[in-house]
Symmetry: C2
Subunit: 246 residues, 2 copies
DNA sequence: CTCAATTATTGGCTTTGTGCCACTATTTTA
DNA sequence: TAAAATAGTGGCACAAAGCCAATAATTGAG
C-alpha cells in the first residue's frame, strides 16, 4: 500500500471516529500547593461544595476542560490562578494516579502537580466548586484535616517527594520571598526536612553555588543584623551530594 | 445539613450521574521498555497495524481497558506481558503527557512508564494492534526509526531521566542477568551513561553498598577469571553522591 | 558606660566518598 | 618463558559535608 493510500485511509478513519464509542476514565488535575507560614510548611485545601465528598476538604483540583485547556499543565495553572491569583509558580508534575476505586463515579485518573509559592501576600479565593479555602499546616507529613478521595495519601507521598528533593536541590528557594537572610532560608529547609542542619555547613553549601546574590540591605532584628540575599539564578540547582543524617 | 442527609444526597447524585454527559480525553499508557543487547541500550518498539500512524513504529502502549484494568499500572503490565512475557519487571512511572494535539483523534492523555528488563532470553510477541516488533538500539538518546505520535520526544526525555538516575542510583542493576561480573555491570553503566568511569572507583562504589554478593563461580573468558556476583538486595539503592564529569 | 545575652558569621579540623593512576594478580597464547 | 590481556588493589589528592568552638555585631539591663 502506498503512503498516499494510507493517508487517505487515515482521513476516512478519523472522520468515522467517535470519541463517545469508547468508555474513558474521567481525567482531572490536582495541585499540592505549598507555602511557608510562620516557619512551617502549609498546603492549600478547599472545602468541596459539590458531591461527591461534599463539605469535605480536598486538594485544589478539577476536571480537564477540553475546550479551554490545551494541555494538562494549563488545567493545573488555571486552578492555581483561580484560588491564589498566582500566575508563575514553580510547578512540577508529581505523579498520576488512575484506578477504578478512587472516585465513586467510576474509573478516574488524576495527574498531580505540586507548586511552591513564596511566603508573601497571597489572597485566597474560594472559587468554583468550593465554599471554603485555607492553608493547612503540615506536621510530620500530615495535616489534621481528613481529605476527600485519596488526597490524604497523595499529600503524604507528594510531601515525601518534596522532602527528598530538598536533600539535593535548591527547590526550597521557591518558597522564599524576594529578600531573605541565610538563616531564614535555613529555617525553610528545616520546615521542609523536619530536621536541623549545621549553620556553617548550610551557609557554605548555599554560597559556593551561584544561586544567591547579596543585596545592599541588612535585616534589622534587634541583634546583629543579617545580610539580605536575593535569588540570582532562577533555575533549580542540583547539588552533587545529599544532605546526610535524615 | 446532617451527615446522613449528605450521604443520601450523594447516593442520589451518583445514581443520576452519567459519564457520557462529559467530554473526556482518551487515556492510554505507553511503556519505554529498555534492555541491554551487545553492551548497548535498546528500547522495544512495535509497528502499528491500525490507524492513526498505521505502519509506523511506536512505543508499546494501549488504551486503558476499564473492564480488565483495575489501575494504570495494570494497563502497563498487561501490555508489557503481552509483548515480552515478562511479569515482574522494574517498572516506574515516568511522566504523563496530555494535550489536544498529540493524537489526531482529539484530546489525549498518556501516562508513560519505563521498564528495565534483564538482558536474557526474552521472546517477543507481536500481539494486538501491531504487525512487527523489535529492539531498537539507542544512540545518543535517539533511535534511527521515527516514532508515531510524540513518542520520539517521550523516548528522548525518558532516556534522559534513566541516564540521570544512573548517576545516583543502582537502577542499571535491573538490566543485568542473574550472574554478572563487576566489569559487565560497569559496561552497562557505560551503555546507559555514554561515558566511561574509572574501574577502581566503580568497584569501590558498588562494593561498599550491600547490593551485591559473591557467587562461588568465576567467569572464564580466557584471561584472568572474574568473580561472578548476584544481586543481594532487590531494592533500588540511592547513593549520596552522583558520579561526576558527565 | 559596660557587660551579658542574643543572633550572625567564620575558622579550622575531621570524615566520607570519588578521581586518578600506577601497580599487582591470574590467565592464555606465542 | 615471556608477552598480552583482563581482573583487581594501593594509596594519595581533592571536594564537600559534619562538627564545634571562636569571633562579630547588636541591644538592653544595671
Amino acid at each position: 500500500m502506498t503512503s498516499d493510500n494510507i493517508q487517505k485511509e487515515e482521513c476516512d478513519y478519523l472522520e468515522s471516529y467517535n470519541a463517545k464509542d469508547f468508555d474513558r476514565p474521567s481525567t482531572s488535575v490536582d495541585n499540592v500547593i505549598y507555602t511557608i507560614i510562620n516557619n512551617a510548611l502549609h498546603v492549600l485545601i478547599v472545602k468541596r461544595s459539590n458531591h461527591p465528598f461534599k463539605d469535605q476538604w480536598a486538594l485544589v483540583g478539577g476536571f480537564v476542560d477540553l475546550n479551554t485547556d490545551n494541555n494538562l499543565e494549563m488545567t493545573a495553572k488555571r486552578k492555581l490562578k483561580e484560588k491564589t491569583g498566582v500566575n508563575t509558580p514553580y510547578l512540577e508534575q508529581f505523579s498520576t494516579i488512575g484506578n477504578k476505586d478512587r472516585d465513586p463515579r467510576g474509573w478516574s485518573v488524576t495527574t498531580v502537580y505540586f507548586a511552591l509559592l513564596p511566603s508573601e501576600n497571597i489572597t485566597l479565593n474560594v472559587g468554583k466548586g468550593a465554599n471554603d479555602i485555607k492553608w493547612a499546616k503540615i506536621d510530620n507529613g500530615k495535616i489534621s484535616e481528613t481529605l476527600a478521595f485519596d488526597h490524604s495519601e497523595i499529600l503524604r507521598e507528594c510531601t515525601q517527594r518534596l522532602r527528598s528533593k530538598a536533600l539535593y536541590t535548591s527547590l526550597p528557594l521557591y518558597l522564599m520571598p524576594e529578600k531573605f537572610t541565610l538563616h531564614e532560608l535555613q529555617e525553610v529547609y528545616h520546615a521542609v526536612l523536619s530536621s536541623k542542619m549545621d549553620p556553617k555547613s548550610f551557609r557554605r553549601r548555599m554560597l559556593t553555588t551561584d544561586l544567591l546574590e547579596e543585596t545592599a540591605e541588612m535585616r534589622q532584628t534587634g541583634r546583629r543584623p543579617a545580610m539580605l540575599y536575593r535569588v540570582k539564578n532562577d533555575q533549580p540547582f542540583f547539588f552533587t551530594r545529599t544532605i546526610e543524617g535524615i
